[in-house]
Chain length 214, copies 2
């Protein structure tokens, strides 16, 4: 019920920030902070406080005027939504520096579990990074089907991206996060998302350049 | 003139997507594509086509009804804006797997140049990754001032983040991109932005879970 009402009204940009808020709120919780102002969340998440207030309003009435937000109940609600995601198993293709860093990050921190990694380099196959084994690309389809994985992260050279994407789609993957910012062709029922560190840096340059011209 | 009119009206979310559009458009250009539909850009960038049309409308009239967008002139305009960013020199703190991957990425691809890297691990100091030298943290302030760098990328363990941020701010850094999604305290004149791969993966799980419940 609650969920159905959520999905019809919460904008995608709010949902995207939600996972960021969780990190901030967990951090506040660890510090023993019980009540918090939207300005504090804003600053620590790098989001404007007016946006924080609007975002949080979609999840219910957490704010107490003059006192701020109750960290614990806000976390409970957002974590409740997160739980509806199901077990967050993903695979990773590309066990180079970036891929290895992602496996390590996932083993240390959060909700996403990398259940298998794949690499075309035979020297990497069968190695284990933080409990995640590296398989050859030829095993993608079998493992995706066996483990019922729906999401793949790809950290591979641009020239390999489309051929790997085709394998993933054929195997039944329904969402791909690419760390190479090059165009990808997928069927309409497959979600694609991109993360690119240097694009974010360019955006920061843009913000600073605006400031210089003010 | 043009720039001033831009900055007053273009929303931040549009600006953020702009750097993504450049990647897509460059890719189309390489393929020899001259005219393109918003749907094509949308699909390759992972953005809705209605959003693409709205975003591009901020930059001028590029669309020709029924024919699509002129790839070359769109690129010229966006690259013109990018040039106003100035030379995009940045430093990197943390030359582990993730940091090294970012240096390599920057050396291969785009506009951002990593002019120096820093690490607290003495065994890494003085090594060179793709022409970028690794220095000890004690040299941050001198090098930032000497090279007049305003932007820093940090790829370090959460427990080190705030102390490194304090050094960066003292050295005159005005924008920080953190790859650890933990709260950061900075003065009001310092921009902070976060990139976190696993958060993006969680967001994809969210999108798939909505679809299952449709």
């Amino acid at each position: 019920m609650m969920k159905n009402s959520f999905k019809s009204v919460i904008p995608e940009t709010t949902l995207r920030r939600m996972v960021y808020y969780i990190r901030c709120l967990n951090s506040f919780k660890k510090e023993g902070v019980e009540l918090i102002q939207s300005e504090d969340i804003a600053k620590k998440c790098g989001v404007k406080s007016s946006i924080v207030r609007k975002d949080l309003s979609y999840f219910g009435e957490f704010g107490v005027r003059g006192k701020g937000y109750d960290v614990a109940s806000l976390l409970d609600t957002i974590n409740g939504i997160i739980k509806t995601f199901g077990q967050m198993n993903a695979i990773l293709v590309g066990a180079g520096k970036l891929g290895s860093a992602i496996i390590k990050h996932s083993s240390e921190n959060f909700n996403v579990k990398i259940v298998a990694a794949f690499d075309k380099d035979k020297r990497k196959v069968n190695k284990i990074i933080e409990e995640t084994r590296i398989y050859p690309l030829s095993e993608i389809e079998g493992i995706v089907r066996e483990k019922k994985v729906k999401i793949a992260i790809i950290a591979i050279p641009p020239s390999d991206v489309q051929s790997v994407v085709d394998i993933l789609v054929k195997a039944g993957i329904k969402a791909i996060l690419s760390l190479a910012l090059i165009p990808i062709n997928v069927p309409d029922d497959v979600e694609v998302s991109f993360v690119d560190v240097l694009s974010e840096v360019e955006f920061l340059f843009y913000k600073l350049s605006l400031r210089r011209n003010r």
